[in-house]
Symmetry: C2
Subunit: 503 residues, 2 copies
Amino acid sequence: MAEPARLRRAPAAVASGVRTRLELGPLLFVTGTLLVILAGTMLVPMLADLAVGHPDWEVFLVSAALTAFIGAALVLANRGARFEALTTRQIFLLTTLVWTTLSAFSAIPLALCGLELSLADAVFEAVSGITTTGSTVITGLDTAPPGILLWRALLQWLGGIGIIVTAVAILPVLSVGGMQLFRSESSDRSEKVLPRSAQIASAIGWLYVSLTLACLLVYWSLGMSMFDAAAHAMTTVATGGYSTHDASIGYFASPEIEWAAVLFMAAGGIPFVLYLQVLRGRAGLLWRDVQVRWYLAVLVGASLLLAAWLVREHGTSPLEALRSAAFTATSIMTGTGYASTDYGQWGTFPIILLFFLKCVGGCTGSTTGGIKIFRFVVLYQVARIQMGRLVQPSGVFRMTFNGRPIAEDTAISVMAFFFLFALSFTLVAGLLAALGLDYITAMSASVTALANVGPGLGPIIGPAGHFGDLPEAAKWVLSLAMLLGRLELFTVLVLLTPLFWRS
Amino acid sequence: MAEPARLRRAPAAVASGVRTRLELGPLLFVTGTLLVILAGTMLVPMLADLAVGHPDWEVFLVSAALTAFIGAALVLANRGARFEALTTRQIFLLTTLVWTTLSAFSAIPLALCGLELSLADAVFEAVSGITTTGSTVITGLDTAPPGILLWRALLQWLGGIGIIVTAVAILPVLSVGGMQLFRSESSDRSEKVLPRSAQIASAIGWLYVSLTLACLLVYWSLGMSMFDAAAHAMTTVATGGYSTHDASIGYFASPEIEWAAVLFMAAGGIPFVLYLQVLRGRAGLLWRDVQVRWYLAVLVGASLLLAAWLVREHGTSPLEALRSAAFTATSIMTGTGYASTDYGQWGTFPIILLFFLKCVGGCTGSTTGGIKIFRFVVLYQVARIQMGRLVQPSGVFRMTFNGRPIAEDTAISVMAFFFLFALSFTLVAGLLAALGLDYITAMSASVTALANVGPGLGPIIGPAGHFGDLPEAAKWVLSLAMLLGRLELFTVLVLLTPLFWRS
């Protein structure tokens, strides 16, 4: 079951297992650099507010200055840091540090702006943005100033590319929840195409920008204003789900826009490295990928089931049913969270199906959240082998993923992830219930946060509601849950083990 | 990670892996024998109805005659069957065959009796009885004739000893969902005490009878009528939950009876082989057993949490809160399903906690249902190792269960069981929702059936309701789910794989 030796060498460069003092220098340097970049992006909404003469431009200027100052200070104070041999522990800490720090600084403009959000609200909104969850505490989006709308969209857009890079370059090295399966992805497949991961990251970046521009053009040509098109293109490709209208995509009442959104949301759920292969003329790799096949099969299957239900139970016309179903299934499964209609009214069966889709999520290496399709593929392989061994105890069975053998250890990692997801779900739902939330709200808020989807179920946080009315404590719990889910649970939870801090 | 050679030899006597024609002779012989025994027990309720002059005695006589006739025919037709080398496939088929056949014949008196149950109702009630689930479709228990009440209690009592024997003698050999961990239980621990498994089964049988008699005496001395005491003793020790009153244990309005029930239900959730050790003066084995420790810890922890909630949120007096909480937690976790109060009214947090307890269940080798504590112990070990490996990729970590190493393969089996449980839960809940049940009813019916608990949640099937008003199709689905859960999923599902039938 061993992977080829060449592939195994990759993580060896990173982790030595020998316990040394946890050097924070390089971690703070990276965090500082990213803070400076974040400060730079704050100038975009500043310009937008300046253009319409809204006083919030000052908020963005102050926030940018503060963020840039602290970022620069961190960079300067740690410019001598050594990057040659980052340990596994350092990378774990770095990943969580970066995501929490950027979330915190992203909340500053939200806390200071004219919407008068509480600290919990601002942090919730920022975390929901940067994790591409898309749950919102804000109402009255239609009359909100452009700066804050643009900032929310930008946060999701940055979070989207952030998670792709994290999933491609970092999580496989950390072997988080079976991500070691993708260790070879960058070294093997693209070896001759793009030798180094920095180049892959930059290629993915350009691809991400192009896909967003394409989405923008399509939305604009279908009748959105340039501002709406830009904001929605960013939150569509990032499968984030923030809208510039309280009625979400439903505001535009345009079947064409809904179908376009289906297309681009679905595209956001496919591993971006595979797009690079397509660009290199190797489109076959995309269609032969087991993740992509399962993903599209589940998406199409669920859409058809939902459409059939709508036709049968609600008498919707087939074409409209198909559109509503495809839109909702794609929005939920990719974790975008747009709503074109209040699907909370569809009945029990759709709700259970959508709950399931929320947990499943899209492909790893994309912008989607949830458990991820590849873990279900591994589970299916495990179940197949288990059944085979029960019937033929002496038979020889092999688990494979995209033609490669799956090590037993990797299978255990994947299954441990499921367990941890279920445990986190139960704990978060239990905490929310203890804070006074009702059954449906607590359960759906827990899963929507952990899977980075967006809306929940029920009258309060359902597609027709928002998260603003939840108790402050619940918002803090959910902010943590969103980060936990985005970083694939283990990455954060490992920091809570005593073993991690023992040196 | 290999187990000692002596222990590995056990299953080798059973499974050869070589494909031969599936011989049904021995399977039918065993099933026939058990049918004759079942027919014999039908005479007990017959006598009870005769004693009070209720015409249902004829129903039991006819059912007994029919069952005995078919049973005897099967025995006679297959008396030449060879038992020396039962294959794994035969044992799989036998297990499912026995449980479904006995359920079917047990339903005959229910279908024919004066309660005028439909076929679906009778089968549901019989399956719910024999799987010790305890969900009921019958109302008006307080005025029902003694025969049918006694039959329901007897079914649970027989099902209770049936599952203990299945879990001790059969499932470990089949390696179902990690049960291979207990392969050594009979050969190792009790080796010097009781050399052969037939002796163990008989010892457990006597213990079971004694425990039931003790429970009967306690109930009787606390004020129950002899009939109620007998019926409740049987359904308490079997952690079944059928009562002779619509108000369940709440009917007696006796704190002493409730505490007695807590004690005997909890006792029913402990592995019965460990009691044999206690009788041999090795009580230490009971307290050192990791399953028992976790089981009692979860039970006590959950009871205290619930009690605290009742005191804080409902202003219940501490003593009453503790009793209600301990009773409900024990009833739910052991899968008994008695109710002393309508805990559906306690609020969201208790509901989520109880939902979780339902899934957990008690120890394997006891009469309880659910996922079982030992699988959580294995999962905890896996999680511990996973975390350790993330931090120290080159570190050496070992998974242990009661001091013995856990093979990676066993860990995968256990985790596959969780996955299958979740999948079965989703499918059953989805089917029920498609049949028109509401969210809470569908979800709670699914889990209560798979975990063999009894009552669900919500106004329809909650502790204050019953299953009689569900659609017929839902009752069939739930009957299957109860059998599926009782036989630990794999045992039944393996029969659905093409590989099983390929010879």
